[in-house]
Point group: C2
Chain length 103, copies 2
DNA sequence: ATTTGACTTGTCAAATATTGGCAAATATAG
DNA sequence: CTATATTTGCCAATATTTGACAAGTCAAAT
C-alpha cells in the first residue's frame, strides 16, 4: 500500500546502490523517517524531494510530479467522484493559466 | 479570490432566497463561518456539503464534486506541474479502480 | 443622520493533526 | 549466531485547523 513517489524513490535508491542510512544522512533525517517516506507513511517536504532528485540523478520534475500526484490521490482518497472532481479542477487550473496576465 | 464550491453555494443560496443567517442556523454554525465558507476562506466538512445539497435542492454529487475539486486545486496550488501530476493521479485512480475486485 | 439588518474581518484559545526522533522489533545477509 | 539494514510503534513538540466571538463595513430605510 505504498505510493508512487515512495516506490520510485526506493527503486532509485537501489539503482544507485545507496542505503537508507546514507540517503537519510544527506537529508539530515533518521533512517526510520526515510523508511516511512519510501513506504508512503510520511510525506517528504518539497525541499527534500528536490534534494532527492539531485542525489538520485533524475530531474526535479519527475519526482515532484509523483510527489504531487500522491497528494492529489490523498485528498480524493476513496471518493467515487475523484475523476469527475479532477476534471473540474483541471479545467479551473487551465482557465486560471489563461488569465495569468492580470493580477 | 473565491473557490468554486463557495461561489456555487452563494449562487444557490440567493436563488433560494435564503439568508446566511438561515442557512447557518440549519448547519448549526454561526454566520461568520458560513460567510467564510462561501468566500473560500474556510473549508466545509463533507457532512455539511451534503446538508447543503439538501437545503439547496441539488444533488450531493454536484456539490461534492466542486468541493473536492477545490481541495485538489489547493494541494496543487501554484505548482507548474499541476496538470502533469493530475494526469498521473488520474491514471493511478483508474488503475486502482480496475483492481478493486481484490483487497 | 441614525437605525437596522446582512454580511465580513480579525482575533483567539481549544481541539486536532503533523512532525521529528528514539527505542525496540523484525528482517536480511554473512 | 552476529551484524547490519529496515521497519514498527510510540511520544512529545510543533503547527494547523477549528469554532466562536466582538467589532467592523456597507446599503437601505427612514
Amino acid at each position: 500500500m505504498a505510493n508512487q513517489f515512495g516506490e520510485r524513490l526506493k527503486q532509485l535508491r537501489e539503482q544507485n546502490n545507496l542505503l537508507q542510512r546514507q540517503v537519510a544522512s544527506i537529508l539530515e533525517i533518521d533512517t526510520p523517517m526515510l523508511s516511512k517516506i519510501e513506504r508512503g507513511e510520511r510525506k517528504a517536504k518539497k525541499e527534500q524531494v528536490i534534494q532527492l532528485a539531485r542525489i538520485m540523478k533524475v530531474s526535479n520534475d519527475e519526482l515532484l510530479t509523483l510527489w504531487l500526484a500522491d497528494q492529489i490521490i490523498d485528498v480524493t482518497k476513496d471518493e467515487d467522484l475523484a475523476l469527475k472532481a479532477m476534471q473540474v479542477a483541471e479545467d479551473e487550473i487551465k482557465y486560471r493559466k489563461t488569465k495569468k496576465k492580470n493580477k
